[in-house]
């Protein structure tokens, strides 16, 4: 493991190996360390700070396979100056990387349980490493259900992989979009409407949820209605993360720092802050 990356504030330059346009406003970067020999082990749910030289640094979740730490994969959406600049990157360009940071999805803790992966929009990206890890040790879990919601059919991420997951007999995958024109053969409706039909045992399920905060709020309500306790619901929070080490205080969330104590939290740990609009 490259300890210097964990211990320093200085980004290491990585080389862009591959760029994939996922949808009209999302893209995936595959990065390699400059010397090619080092790896950057990470746990599903963690993020890196990515630095576009001369533009700025942003926290981006890792969306790749944790069993391939030699390939650092990030999927992001073009939403601001830095990601807009990243969108112009081409293979062999350079990008600064610090990390990985943050808490992981509780994949090992969930051994023996049914799993619900619930993603909204780009929220599927931070969950994909958890899906990889779960499927690589499929026998250790009960039912595995993936629920994914996007705005329109054109916004569906990782289409090819989703089809592969859907075709597995040991995975139940349901997708839905918020709007579609006539002729769309899939589901229309918000992702929360899929929860009631997920074939899991609520008493023995672990839910991992990632998406816009408002989506997670309604998702948690629906999961609780289904009988899944707040100690078995995990959410990935997003705040203005800067240092990634819990030092600068930019990402303070209640008494915690999202970069260090999160981004993945058991819902019970943050439930008192979840409904407070000011934080």
């Amino acid at each position: 493991m490259n300890d210097s990356l964990n211990s320093t504030m200085v980004p290491t330059p990585f080389r862009v190996q591959r760029v994939r346009r996922e949808t009209h406003d999302t893209f995936t970067l595959e990065l390699r360390p400059p010397d090619g020999s080092r790896t950057l082990p990470f746990a599903p749910g963690q993020f890196n700070m990515l630095y576009m030289f001369g533009v700025g640094e942003v926290p981006i979740s890792i969306s790749g396979d944790p069993s391939h730490p030699e390939r650092i994969v990030h999927t992001t959406r073009v939403v601001g100056t830095v990601t807009r600049a990243m969108h112009t990157l081409k293979p062999s360009d350079s990008l600064g990387v610090r990390g990985p940071f943050g808490t992981p999805w509780p994949v090992e803790k969930a051994y023996g349980s049914d799993i619900m992966i619930i993603a909204g929009g780009i929220g599927l990206a931070p969950l994909r490493p958890a899906v990889y890890q779960i499927l690589s040790q499929r026998e250790k879990f009960g039912k595995v259900v993936i629920l994914s919601g996007t705005r329109t059919p054109a916004d569906i991420l990782f289409r090819k992989e989703m089809e592969q997951w859907r075709s597995r007999f040991d995975v139940d995958l349901f997708t839905t979009v918020d709007r579609a024109m006539s002729g769309w053969k899939g589901n229309v409706g918000v992702v929360t409407t899929l929860i009631s039909r997920a074939p899991v045992d609520p008493q023995n399920s672990v839910a991992m949820v990632c998406g816009p905060e408002v989506m997670m709020r309604f998702t948690v309500m629906e999961l609780q209605k289904r009988g899944i306790g707040g100690d078995r619901i995990y959410v990935s929070m997003e705040r203005n993360m800067k240092c990634g080490l819990g030092l600068c205080g930019h990402c303070q969330y209640g008494p915690t720092f999202v970069c260090k104590d999160g981004p993945v939290y058991p819902f019970n740990r943050i439930k008192d802050y979840f409904a407070i609009r000011e934080i």
Binding site: R151, S182, G189, V190, T192, G211, P212
Partner: protein, 153 residues
């Protein structure tokens, strides 16, 4: 093979309904089948039934000039379709189209309305259940209106 009464009895929507009421409701029911692309009903038509979807998928659509038909919601196995039969003037507000081969139970609206007028307990029990569905769909629509995945979110 389940008969209509047994089918209703085991459906979550009718959970807790007295056997005599199940019998009354079943008396208004019939099995129906829709091919992919076939309309169950169209906006403005008389709402003369509601449907319990046994297997298949239905798209609830609205037509907007220059944009075509927009899917508002999809309903799947076990879902209940239609409450306009309960509310005057008993006309559908949307189109409902089978996305794939769909089998359903259709409950005749006139028959049910008459039975509800004659037996207010039955009417109240049905209204309670439809109120829950209306509430669930209203909540879902509100969340849909939030446009959760827009760039600003």
């Amino acid at each position: 093979m389940e008969n209509l009464e047994q089918l209703l009895e085991h459906h979550p929507f009718f959970k807790g309904l007295e056997p005599k009421h199940i019998k009354l409701v079943a008396g208004c029911g019939s099995n129906v089948k829709f091919e992919a692309g076939e309309f169950l009903f169209k906006e403005g038509e008389e709402a003369n039934a509601f449907f319990i979807l046994r297997r298949g998928k239905i798209a609830v659509e609205a037509f907007a000039a220059e944009r075509g038909s927009i899917i508002i919601d999809t309903l799947n196995d076990g879902d209940i379709l239609g409450w306009s039969w309960l509310i005057p003037p008993y006309n559908w507000h949307f189109d409902a189209k089978a996305v794939e081969l769909t089998r359903a139970v259709a409950l005749d609206a006139r028959c049910l309305r008459t039975k509800c007028e004659e037996d207010h307990d039955l009417g109240y029990e049905l209204l309670k259940r439809f109120a829950q569905i209306i509430e669930d769909r209203l909540q879902a629509t509100r969340i849909q209106l939030l446009d959760l995945y827009s760039v600003s979110s």
